[in-house]
């Protein structure tokens, strides 16, 4: 029992260390990739970002709408429905925007990255590149990682904007909150530091979710089962990582 636990912890630490070495290896290559393979990075921003837009926009609209409904219900008990704009904006910008975007991102783009890279390994495409003296980490992994890192904050920003719009539709248009109060209170109370906190979170989550996706894909066992497992692990581990990191950043910025 104790021995199994030791093995488990040992294995975990080993993977954790590998992940960080992999991260360092990626970081070292960032400037070169941006300079020499800019086109590939742009393609990947499109893959991870633009192709995730439908799910992000739809989810954001409804998350904003639900926030407005719940917020209206609670605030109206204290007669302060006018604060709805602030409530919605702050929750979206500092919390829900980055977190929900990151969760959706790992489900949509992260799994795609992991299974794509895993399948490339399973079909010898990565070995073939190595044989052609092309480093697959630089050619395949780096642009995908960077694409995810760049796309994630943009998606989070879009999520917050659409969410606020959804809340406006539900709160002001549907429930009859005062139009002027909704926007002006929001404008007064949302500080630049709130926005920065949201941006910081989305950048950190973007790095974590993209890194885990490419790491799992690159180290996938080259079989159908192995690629499937890598894809699942990507979603599970990224989601946990995002929630834990969210707590840590929020606590640190209090």
């Amino acid at each position: 029992m104790l021995r199994e636990l030791a093995y488990f912890v040992g294995g975990f630490l080993q993977t954790f260390g590998q992940l960080h070495l992999f991260f360092l290896r990626l970081l070292v290559g960032v400037p070169r990739t941006l300079w020499r393979r800019f086109r590939l990075v742009v393609d990947q921003v499109h893959n991870a970002g633009a192709l995730s837009m439908p799910i992000i926009v739809t989810s954001a609209f409804f998350v904003g709408g639900v926030l407005a409904l719940q917020g209206y219900d609670n605030l109206s008990r204290f007669g302060s429905e006018d604060a709805l704009g602030v409530l919605v904006a702050l929750s979206l910008i500092t919390e829900l925007g980055p977190v929900v975007t990151a969760l959706l991102f790992s489900g949509r783009a992260g799994t795609a990255l992991a299974s794509e890279i895993g399948l490339m390994r399973a079909t010898d495409q990565l070995s073939a590149m190595e044989m052609m003296a092309v480093d697959p980490v630089r050619r395949v992994v780096m642009p995908r990682f960077l694409g995810g890192v760049i796309a994630m904050p943009l998606l989070a920003g879009i999520f917050s904007a659409i969410g606020i719009f959804g809340a406006y539709m539900v709160g002001v248009v549907l429930m009859g909150v005062d139009y002027g109060a909704f926007w002006s209170q929001m404008q007064e109370s949302v500080e630049i530091s709130d926005v920065l906190q949201g941006v910081l979170k989305s950048v950190v989550f973007g790095i974590a979710a993209s890194l885990l996706a490419v790491f799992e894909g690159y180290n996938a066992i080259p079989t159908a089962e192995g690629v499937g497992r890598a894809t699942t692990r990507t979603v599970v581990i990224s989601s946990i990582a995002v929630l834990v990191l969210d707590f840590m950043i929020t606590a640190a910025m209090m």
Binding site: T123, S127, A128, M129, M132, A133, D135
Partner: protein, 271 residues
């Protein structure tokens, strides 16, 4: 610069094991310059592993592998990549990049390693595709190719950097007789026209005999026989006979090692 020795690859005293299993046990192989060398052996003798060792994707436990004057295990990453540019390799299933068209697949090494203008790249790619007879397939995607065509595209890609050594990993597996004949002919032609050295890993005795100058038969981690195809089929050793004539039982047993049959049926095999 490496001087022109007779052997383009020399493997000496090579030992390699994976886990408990010893895959190569003091293996010696010479690949002669300008010849087609076949490496044969029953499945599971580590033929693909040998290729990975030669190309530096794996590191041997012991022994040296000299490729064109360089000791592979002593090369760093840069040296290894420089060495690999001299080698073209054809993977079992082609290993084409599935996102790219046939053209982009063949152009891939050129785009990665050179700054040639697009017109020149196009010219080179079309020449190589013409050599394998697939100039007409230039705009197809890998998913639209048959197995034999995919392997020919991969061959064009392996040749595009004008390597000195071409390595074929099981090039005949799973092909119909026509595609197989095409590949056999291409192996021979590329070797002679381009003046390169070829290594073909295979267990298709018939096909390989028509194309190879020298064959090595590997079993149990050692070279059990070597020489021209005629010499091999005349070999008296039981193992060589079994392999060359495709007999089901012999030194390589039909049965995987198992406990006593009756005992196992009765569920009493040792625990």
């Amino acid at each position: 610069m490496a001087q022109e020795t007779e052997n383009v690859i020399e493997i000496r005293d090579l030992c390699y094991s994976r886990g408990q299993r010893q895959i190569f046990d003091h293996l010696d192989i010479d690949i002669q310059r300008g010849k087609v060398t076949a490496i044969m052996g029953p499945s599971g003798t580590g033929k693909t592993t040998l290729l990975r060792l030669i190309t530096g994707q794996l590191v041997p436990d012991r022994g040296t592998i000299i490729v064109d004057g360089d000791d592979v295990s002593k090369l760093n990453r840069t040296g290894l990549y420089r060495m690999r540019r001299k080698i073209g390799m054809l993977f079992q299933n082609g290993a084409l990049l599935t996102d790219y068209s046939v053209f982009e697949n063949v152009a891939f090494p050129l785009r990665e390693h050179t700054d040639l203008p697009d017109r020149l790249i196009r010219h080179i790619v079309l020449t190589k595709l013409h050599a394998v007879g697939l100039r007409g397939a230039v705009n197809l995607m890998p998913s639209e190719l048959s197995g034999g065509m995919a392997r020919r595209v991969a061959l064009a890609r392996a040749m595009v950097m004008d390597p000195e050594i071409l390595i074929y990993d099981e090039p005949f597996v799973g092909l119909d007789p026509i595609s197989m004949g095409v590949i056999v002919r291409l192996v021979r032609r590329m070797n002679d026209i381009l003046g390169i050295s070829s290594i073909v890993v295979s267990h298709d005795v018939q096909e390989i005999s028509t194309v190879a100058d020298v064959s090595y038969l590997i079993a149990d981690g050692k070279v059990v026989a070597s020489g021209s195809p005629e010499e091999l089929s005349g070999e008296p050793s039981e193992l060589v006979k079994q392999f060359m004539h495709g007999m089901a039982d012999g030194p390589v047993p039909f049965h995987y090692p198992a406990p006593d049959y009756a005992e196992q049926l009765l569920g009493r095999e040792g625990d």
